[in-house]
């Protein structure tokens, strides 16, 4: 009995994909391994043959999610080849689409909130992946010819992070509704300096 998410493929892939989806929707501590394997059309033993623990599965899910996000950057390059400023606007646009399409926020940020233990193995991974994403945005701003590239990138990061978490508290009609306007006027303001 497979659900829509998991077609007939290798159990490991189905588990990974299903776990990503369920962790995202219900939170890491809100879903157990039994529920994941059942939704993936397999069983707990098979999960533990492929992942040595739930924590390992969590980490693999975060890596997979980050890899997906990373592929979006390639789209920007494909859509606006060489045009770094165009890619920055595409980033804003894509971020806005993300906000409209989904109100459960960023998996990595959510995981950081849920896994409050300072020494949880996933925290290293979260920090690494988030730092890599930050570096990408800084580079994009710099290549777009913006002077204070780090400051703009960090401001945009905080705005998006805030919008994604705000969605979860007050919904889509809250402050996050103005994200595009904020981001665009920020970019314009930094370009004018």
């Amino acid at each position: 009995m497979t659900d829509g998410v998991a077609e007939r493929s290798r159990p490991r892939d189905r588990i990974l994909e299903t776990a990503q989806d369920m962790f995202h929707k219900h939170g890491i501590k809100g879903v157990g391994v039994d529920a994941i394997t059942e939704a993936a059309g397999t069983n707990k033993m098979t999960l533990y043959r492929h992942f040595e623990s739930k924590d390992e599965l969590i980490i693999e899910c975060l890596r997979a999610t980050a890899a997906k996000a990373s592929r979006i950057w390639d789209e920007f390059e494909a859509q606006h080849p060489g045009d770094k400023l165009g890619q920055l606007h595409a980033w804003v646009q894509k971020a806005s689409e993300l906000l409209s399409a989904d109100s459960r926020g960023c998996d990595m940020a959510n995981a950081a909130v849920e896994l409050s233990e300072a020494d949880h193995p996933a925290r290293r991974v979260i920090k690494e992946l988030k730092e890599a994403q930050r570096e990408k945005l800084v580079m994009l701003c710099r290549d777009a010819g913006i002077g204070q590239a780090e400051l703009l990138a960090d401001t945009l990061s905080l705005l998006l992070e805030g919008a994604r978490v705000s969605m979860q508290s007050v919904g889509s009609e809250g402050p996050s509704a103005q994200f595009v306007r904020m981001a665009e006027s920020l970019i314009a303001s930094f370009r004018a300096r």
Copy 2:
């Protein structure tokens, strides 16, 4: 055997205070009622005589936290009586202090992340409290004579929300380190319009 948090006071107050602290530090799903009552120097039965369920306790904790935050607004008024712009700068300063003092973010936002069930009773409360806070900041911006008060208030909200969640992912050396600079230059920019 009482710990530092809970002096000799009524059990209900000790439970509430201890629960606030532990929910904040370890997350709502990361701490059980037994652990709370033990840290509060009491027991589970007493908790359930004062709160009809853990969910009710969660809600009461959120209300108490919001009430504490609300009292900070009174400080602003006391420190800068009549000077709304000074109060806005005090808000930025206070937000920055919050970021430095604590890296577990906003209890309400964290609760919204953890309690992913759309119909969880705490979600109504979270939304109400967050909307009240937003309204306060909008009023402050408006009274400070800023034209696009809602937009500035929402931008500042998202920046702070983002900074508080970013702290939990990448730590205090990440984008949140620039919060004050971002906020101040935003205020300056809005005032110049």
